[in-house]
Symmetry: C2
Subunit: 347 residues, 2 copies
């Protein structure tokens, strides 16, 4: 991360409130300091409340400035309503810090739809991009995590949207996972050419021909293979992506609940559980959504990250860490370059 | 199950071949015999191969007749092609047994798209139903399994399709789960009214007003709550349903793989694993897709069930068992009654 660059944090967003946001930011700062990196923050929201909250985090205070915003976007506010009062809300002002160049990225745990609408209106999409997409890294059995997009920013998508998502997702994987030619697949309900919607088939057709791009298009992937580590980028519309992401989260929790019940079912299994606890703790850590928090809107002229509304202190710190790495890697510029090459060769 | 009624089995469908199909049928027969029920079968496919295969299952032979069909539907055959040679294939002839009234249900592990197309063409949809839907029971943390439909028969759906699926899914839950007024929800990417596609919002609007139906519409449900046991029926288009079902399967396997790795990571955890093995075996049994096999096409004038292509002997037996229970419960008539009431009151 370039010294002196700052991350703007919507201190008021999220279901867990200001205290958890500040604790998460403070934790991220400590972690990066331990690795010799100096993170600095612009904390946006109710100035009095933030000042009060910072009393528990003196080290964070020294590395932060506060920017006052009186309003908060509610979790059930419609994006169209939220946009109208953008300039008075902590979310809108945090994004504005990026637009003004005062911050290198903005992070919010607030309402996803409002965040997307405000970010798009304020920062605008990159040349060649019709709509931004929400992307995140999911754990896999492979050597690296897998980039999945769109995760809910666009309920319905055209073939052209999906192709743009593929190019941006590949650029993200090239930058963050340091892969030369990421393997990219389209999420579908079968692996055969004729499966799925017209949009998906048309997108596949375009991607198959785009051999000049720094990616390897591998065709369709089904829901049961998302975590196998067979591809590096999975592209889908926001509806399917949101269903897949949440179903994966819910199923992991379901299996963990069943496991807990199984371990409690007899004295013998309780003893086995105690003995193998270090192993199951490792598993719990690996599956905890807080350790995979931080989704980014790709395709905007600036970095805006969405942290899970229910994230705890660790989750918020994870999202801040993702933002810091993207600033360090200059992700926005790298994506713009890849898009430029795509457009130039396609023309 | 009414004595004398038969289940037609597509003996040639499925990735695992004839031997697994016959072993699965034989296993189901033994299990039901143990409970005092006499299952009888029509085995459809290559007569010589079935006769040879039955030599390993003398008890099944005594409860089966063979109907010859020379052709097989391949797993990558297009439905439109498969339909043209329906009458010569094991899949098409098995369905025809239901149409002729010789069998009370047909079960196939073959190509889902072809099975759907053939079943619809041969048996036709019930009055008031535009399209059949593929429904299955998924495990949950609640007192009963949860009915999910559509799981892939219809890639895109109108609001009207979704409403019909809700009525059929509720009838299925009333019959099979013996619930008076099943809780029905629409799968969506948020729980607020304005979330999702027009189709989903319109379907919700209709279902909210349909208070005369023997179901309780609870609104939207997100992917992370599918297995919580909060609802009895989850309704979605076939694309989302397929993504959710397969993502859940894949995630359960992913967690199990991580658990295996964790248990192998040290001597201590290996010992803990051995001690708690009965508990984890129970979990594995609970999550094994073979123990939840057997999806049914709802909305046809006859019972056609889809067994997973990769099902093993236990999986095939599970699907046969699901078919036998539907025959016993007279599911088709019960759904027709509920649809009749829906139409009558809506008119």
């Amino acid at each position: 991360m370039t010294n002196g660059s700052r991350i703007a944090v919507d201190a008021m967003g999220g279901d867990e409130g200001l205290a958890v946001m500040l604790a998460g930011v403070a934790r991220a700062r400590r972690q990066f300091e331990g690795r010799g990196l100096d993170l600095r923050f612009i904390l946006v929201g109710d100035e009095a409340a933030i000042t009060e909250g910072l009393k528990s985090h003196p080290n964070l205070t020294a590395h932060s400035e506060i920017v006052h915003a009186p309003g908060v976007v509610g979790s059930s506010d419609k994006p169209s309503q939220a946009i109208r009062r953008a300039k008075t809300t902590s979310m809108g002002v945090a994004i504005d810090m990026v637009k003004q160049g005062r911050a290198a990225a903005a992070v919010s745990s607030g309402n996803t739809g409002a965040l997307m609408a405000m970010a798009k209106l304020s920062l605008r999409t990159m040349p060649g991009i019709d709509r931004p997409a929400l992307a995140a890294m999911l754990p896999s059995l492979g050597e690296n995590d897998v980039v999945v997009l769109d995760l809910g920013a666009n309920t319905e998508c055209t073939a052209r949207n999906l192709v743009q998502f593929a190019v941006m997702g590949a650029a993200y994987a090239r930058t963050t996972l340091e892969l030369q030619s990421p393997r990219v697949a389209l999420l579908n309900i079968g692996s055969e050419d004729q499966k799925g919607t017209d949009e998906i088939r048309d997108a596949a057709q375009t991607l198959r021909l785009a051999t000049h791009l720094p990616m390897t298009f591998t065709g369709f992937i089904e829901g049961d293979r998302l975590s196998r580590g067979e591809v590096d980028v999975i592209v889908c519309d926001g509806f399917s992506g949101n269903i897949a992401l949440k179903t994966a989260e819910g199923t992991a929790r379901f299996v963990a609940d069943l496991l807990r019940r199984a371990f409690k079912s007899s004295m013998r299994s309780k003893i086995g559980f105690l003995i193998s606890k270090p192993a199951t703790d490792l598993l719990r850590h690996h599956l905890d959504p807080n350790n995979h928090n931080g989704a980014v809107f790709l395709g905007l002229n600036g970095l805006v990250l969405k942290s899970h509304g229910g994230a705890n202190e660790i989750g918020v710190a994870t999202a801040i860490g993702v933002a810091a790495k993207m600033v360090r890697d200059d992700l926005t510029r790298r994506i713009a370059e890849d898009l430029g090459n795509f457009e130039a060769k396609a023309a």
